[in-house]
Amino acid sequence: MKYYAYYPGCSMEATAVPVELSIQAIAKPLDMDLSEIEDWTCCGSSPYGSVNKVEAVTIASRILALAEKTGLDLVTACSSCYIVLSEARSLIKENAELAATVRDALATVGLEYKGTVHVRHLVEVLFNDIGVEAIAAKVVKPLTGLKVACYYGCQQVRPRYGFDDPEMPQWLDLIAASLGAEPVPFPLKARCCGSSLIISEEDVALQLINKLLTNASENGAQCIASTTCPLCHTNLDAYQSIVKRRFKANYNLPVLAITQLIGVALGLDYRALGLHKNTVSPKDVLAPYKSKLQEVKT
């Protein structure tokens, strides 16, 4: 068993509930212990840094301090939390004045951050700590013939806090392949989903989403195997019907977080994987891979 300090992040309690369910469902079978950081608060998310950077780094440091106390690596599945926390960590390290502000602010609540905690993305942990061989060894329902477009988004790979290629990353493709699925070429795999502009500048974000989905569909994908990032997942899944209407598109691409896809191949219950909560129903594409355990309506 491998142990981690898990940071879910705010969206995992709301729009990304399906992703979070699947993360929890596959943790045990893959020998990961993801203990939630106690009494966690928001990391600040990207927008806080655009309102007040010093405040943003300071509230992120609370999470770093709490994780550090556990002595474990901090793992998050949200790409935005991942870079916000990673960046806070490196800014505190390189900026003495900021470090002092953080130290004084944390002291008011009896916390201390020493700068030793590692911040890691769940996909990186799955790839490096668990490994594709170990995942493949647990597959009971190989996803043979399932054509997937692996979508990484931006912040999982840029600005490169991990080790995967920042423009043509491979890890999700290799994980999907270890499940028996067939990753299709997907040139836009690490391009933006529109992020929070989907709220304030909807037209711009819808265009970006349409480009991604069109690219995936033209390359023969039957579904998207996405990063575990809540925003990426929501933009591609929940907004897909709006995008289709806007651009008169006729693709239909269920968006499975990679953790949902792993869960299907491990033969886990569809409800436990939150698949019934995806708005683009994955029922049809997954029909050939259902095990007896999974006779639950999706």
Binding site: A14, D39, Y48, V51, L91, D104, Q155
Partner: protein, 184 residues
């Protein structure tokens, strides 16, 4: 909008954590060429940096440009001088907000609603912050979003009430200390 000594704008931007390398930009334009949304910007990223260095405070802070940054970090991955243009755009957004500029986009209102939600609840309450944001900007647009909201609601992805988080008091104390310390 206000009187400044020469280059005070540049210094101010460079003092914000993460934006300190702005003076080393060689104006190669790679950031603009990489940018996911530059076609929508009044002035693309390279130009924004040039304008900061030319002390064009008003033009930079009142334009829509910086608000179209989606934090995709393509610029940052490609920049040959490690300038981190994305951080500079974020720094400029914070200055525009602080100084009360009203750029022609709803993004500032969205960011502020989100930060308000964090300060109130300790975590982002998605429904609450979206509700506030639409009320503030365009209540009619909220009606258009109703089908999506209902869809998320029936899929159990839109809790209507915020969770009670103990740590929210710690966030308040931490932020009070930062403000008292005079950080911008």
């Amino acid at each position: 909008m206000r009187k400044n000594s020469p280059q005070s704008f540049l210094k101010e931007v460079a003092s914000i954590p993460g934006s300190n390398k702005i003076s080393e930009c060689i104006q190669c334009g790679v950031c603009s060429g990489s940018c996911a949304t530059a076609t929508h910007w009044e002035y693309p990223p390279r130009k924004i940096i040039a304008m900061v260095r030319a002390d064009m405070r008003d033009d930079v802070l009142s334009s829509n440009s910086i608000w179209f940054c989606v934090s995709c970090y393509l610029c940052t991955a490609h920049c040959p001088r490690d300038i981190r243009p994305a951080n500079i755009m974020h720094a400029l957004e914070s200055l525009a907000l602080k100084e009360g500029y009203k750029p022609p986009t709803h993004s500032p209102a969205m960011y502020q609603s989100l930060v308000g939600s964090i300060k109130r609840n300790g975590r982002v309450h998605e429904f609450g912050f979206m509700f506030k944001y639409y009320l503030k900007t365009n209540p009619l647009a909220a009606i258009k979003m109703l089908p999506l909201a209902i869809d998320l609601l029936i899929h159990g992805r839109m809790p209507l009430m915020p969770k009670k988080v103990k740590g929210k008091d710690e966030i308040k104390a931490i932020l009070a200390k930062v403000t008292a310390g005079g950080a911008q």
